[in-house]
């Protein structure tokens, strides 16, 4: 009987998922967001096919050319094709976005779960930690962490993760707090399931919804923070083409080659918009009050 209840909850969440997808696809904004994200992911995956030139190849005689048929986004100070660099840059930005948020999610989930599930002293301590983590603005903290760790792709991911885990922790804590007293968890306990099993197979799947929303909203933040760090010279080091580092080297030439800075910025705007649209739509779909 308890098993029945426990597994019914899981199926319920499965049905909820399909319902969610259907609602989501009805929203134009969500579809638009999904399209943009998919295009970006495809761009990152198939970069070698989409890029028109070798992103590292120098062609000094054609340096600093404005956009033309030969070079869609113009060339940089080495004569490298900016369009190709931007296309490959999507790989780096995607990587950082997902890796950083992934670490952030896992860390936040871990702490939130312990705080929410075990409660009392652990909860108070972790709550205090979360408040402190949330007291620092993200960009500032990321910059300070890079000051300590040094620049580089992995350090950037780490810095971003350490700056943003607080939100994940807070949400997952809230979820665990409210879910641990639900019937199906009681049922599972009666059945003698271990804590770990309850957490992973019962509470976790049901708490995913707001976390998914948060993820779609944190990935764009991570991408922007990475661009900012690279722009300041604290992030991805050249010649690796991340959008931020392209803009960073382009800023010396803002005076007569502004296209180097403009195009990567537009790409960032597009992908951040995409994630935000999707995230908003997800949040609206999951909000029970708006279902009516």
């Amino acid at each position: 009987m308890a098993e029945g209840i426990a597994s019914t909850e899981l199926t319920k969440s499965g049905n909820a998922f399909y319902g969610l997808m259907r609602r989501l696809l009805r929203s134009k904004a969500a579809v638009f967001g999904l399209v943009i994200i998919s295009l970006m992911l495809l761009c990152a995956l198939f970069a070698p096919l989409i890029a028109t030139h070798d992103y590292a190849k120098q062609d000094l005689p054609s340096m600093l050319q404005p956009p033309s048929k030969a070079h869609l986004f113009g060339t940089d100070e080495f004569g490298r094709d900016i369009f190709s660099r931007v296309v490959y840059g999507s790989r780096v930005s995607m990587k950082v976005g997902f890796l950083a948020v992934g670490i952030s999610l896992l860390t936040g989930l871990f702490f939130g779960c312990i705080a929410g599930y075990y409660g009392r002293l652990l909860d108070s301590v972790i709550c205090a930690l979360i408040d402190i983590a949330l007291a620092f603005p993200m960009t500032l903290l990321a910059i300070a962490i890079i000051a300590v760790l040094g620049p580089g792709l992995f350090n950037v991911c780490l810095a971003i993760a350490l700056s943003s885990w607080g939100s994940f922790a807070r949400i997952s804590r809230g979820q665990f707090l409210s879910l641990k007293n639900q019937e199906f968890v009681e049922a599972a306990r009666i059945l003698g399931y271990s804590d770990a099993r309850i957490i992973f197979r019962h509470i976790l799947p049901n708490s995913l919804a707001p976390l998914v929303v948060l993820t779609t909203l944190e990935v764009p933040k991570a991408i922007i923070v990475e661009a900012t760090l690279s722009f300041l010279g604290l992030g991805i080091q050249p010649p690796l083409p991340s959008w931020g580092s392209i803009m960073s080297s382009g800023r010396s030439f803002l005076f007569h080659a502004p296209w180097i800075t403009i195009f990567p910025g537009i790409m960032i705007i597009l992908i951040v918009m995409g994630f935000n649209l999707l995230g908003d739509a997800l949040r609206d779909s999951l909000d029970p009050r708006l279902r009516n």
Binding site: L60, F78, Q237, L254
Partner: protein
């Protein structure tokens, strides 16, 4: 949420007050900010720099702001031909053995606070620099001086430990701006930040840290060196030196009129700026040298064949054409030609021309028929980065596969001190042959001798040149040094960048000076 019946007006009022307070603070701030220069009658020339100094004190600073050149005078000045001429010293004599120097000081000179300039100021300045307690970065420049004696108010005698003709250079350099005796006690711990005292054509008015230094003309100044056409006060009222770290911002400020003078025009922007009718570009020979160096105590760079191969692998003409847009000259020697006395004219003949085939042959002879792998380090400013990438490609042509590692300035120095470099890119800017002492004497190992070149013959040649009894013999001996260095291929010299200044057309009577702009020598600005 229930309807807020009988909502307390008091509460809302308090809230509004708090918000208003924030807004008020903001506006207050704006009011207290300085208003823009009120009078249009004040003639102000604005120059841009890429960094702000740590301190405006020639004795304690490790990096000298241009402002120090205009705040102080030096014993010896340099004219438009870069020759050594009288400054605060009207003349000097050197004894036969080169150990006693007597300087006759100019009369009628006063500091900005009215105190007359006398021999005790010279003694105080030199003693304070040499005093280990001051920890002055320029102490090394004066290590040849044993003692400074005051003969009378306008005569100073310097006793040297060994003959050192280069003392002329050191005394004409920014580091030896003559300071007022006792200024540290008189002006306290904020000397160099809130006050600066000198005899120069400009006086210190204000320093907004990180933003700008404001100097005003010294109306009493009438002791400009004889070679200046205007020996009196400057023709304009204020000189502002602004700190603008972004290269593109400096250029945009120049184009929009936010600044009038820009030193170090980036070569890629030069053509565009030349087209601009509001801007004049002045080009001159610089005293800089850009080179590719290697750790000579590490394999395979300890083999002279490999070093020569690298020299043959670099295509200097291409680099000059594309990275510097033609605003540079290929370098084959170790000193820039602007150093007329010391430069070895045959540098290009004796040097190694671009010849990839020969490079490969030499590598094969050294035991590397298929080249080798190594690292190439550079700073991450735009020129060094681009240079590194081009060098990487050129080296690859002869089989040397170099991985590029970029550093910000502080880390770069740290890396060099730790001795982690293989191949690396460097640029020096120094108007004297003693730069070779600085970089290549084994006593300077491991830093600043980052080439890690410890060679007794080099030491012998350089030391003999540095302690030569006269300037002429010194120049000859430094030429020997250069010949030897070329033969041993200790560096791979690449380019000598042109010195380019961009000046807005409102600035009139501008003359280019080989060392620093002489603002008091007739330069003026037309205000509309």
């Amino acid at each position: 949420m229930k309807e807020l019946k009988g909502f307390s007006k008091v509460r809302l009022f308090v809230a509004y007050i708090m918000i208003a307070l924030c807004v008020f603070l903001g506006i207050l701030g704006m009011v207290f900010m300085e208003s823009p220069s009120v009078a249009a009658e004040r003639k102000v020339i604005v120059q841009a720099m890429d960094r702000d100094p740590d301190i405006l004190d020639t004795i304690k600073a490790a990096w000298y702001s241009d402002a120090l050149i205009y705040l102080h005078d030096r014993l010896i000045s340099r004219d438009y031909d870069f020759r050594y001429r009288p400054g605060l010293a009207t003349g000097w004599e050197v004894s036969e053995d080169g150990l006693i120097w007597i300087f006759h000081l100019r009369k009628g000179v006063t500091f900005h606070d009215g105190t007359p300039f006398t021999a005790k100021d010279v003694k105080w300045t030199i003693d304070t620099i040499k005093d280990p307690k001051t920890a002055s970065p320029s102490a090394g420049d004066l290590k040849s001086i044993d003692e400074v004696k005051i003969i009378d108010d306008h005569t100073v005698q310097m006793v040297l430990k060994y003959p050192f003709p280069n003392l002329l250079f050191n005394l004409s350099n920014t580091a030896l701006g003559i300071q007022k005796a006792g200024c540290y006690e008189e002006y306290g711990e904020y000397y160099g930040i809130k006050t600066v005292m000198g005899t120069g054509p400009f006086m210190f008015k204000k320093w907004v840290r990180g933003d700008r230094i404001v100097l005003v003309k010294n109306p009493d100044y009438n002791w400009g060196p004889e070679w200046m056409s205007n020996r009196g006060p400057a023709l304009f009222d204020e000189l502002v030196i602004r700190t603008i770290p972004e290269e593109s911002s400096r250029i945009m400020e120049l184009v929009t009129g936010g600044i009038h003078v820009l030193r170090d025009v980036p070569p890629l922007q030069a053509d565009k700026l030349k087209e601009n009718p509001d801007i004049n570009i002045f080009i001159d020979q610089s005293t800089k040298l850009g080179y590719l160096a290697y750790a000579c105590d590490k394999k395979p760079f300890d083999d002279v064949l490999v070093r020569r191969a690298i020299n043959h692998a670099v295509d200097r003409e291409t680099i000059v054409k594309y990275i510097f847009s033609g605003y540079a000259t290929p370098a084959y020697g170790y000193l820039p030609p602007a150093l007329k006395d010391e430069y070895l004219e045959e540098s290009e003949e004796l040097g190694y021309k671009y010849d990839p085939a020969r490079a490969k042959a030499l590598l094969a002879e050294a035991g590397f028929p298929n080249g080798f792998e190594t690292t190439l380090s550079a700073e991450n400013d735009s020129t060094s980065k681009r240079l590194a990438e081009v060098l990487q490609a050129q080296l690859a042509e002869v089989g040397i596969k170099a991985k590029i590692q970029l550093y910000d300035s502080a880390s770069y120095v740290a890396m060099l001190k730790a001795g982690q470099q293989d191949l690396f890119v460097r640029l020096y800017s120094w108007p004297n042959a003693d730069i070779l002492d600085w970089f290549l004497l084994s006593a300077q190992f491991p830093y600043p001798n980052h080439s890690r070149w410890c060679d007794p013959k080099t030491d012998e040649l350089i030391n003999s040149a540095a302690t030569a009894p006269t300037w002429e013999i010194r120049a000859e001996r430094y030429k020997e040094v250069q010949r030897y260095l070329i033969e041993q291929a200790v560096w791979c010299p690449i380019y000598i960048p042109d010195k380019m200044l961009a000046v807005r057309k409102e600035v009139i009577n501008f003359k280019n000076h080989p060392w620093m702009i002489q603002y008091s020598d007739g330069i003026d600005i037309v205000t509309k």
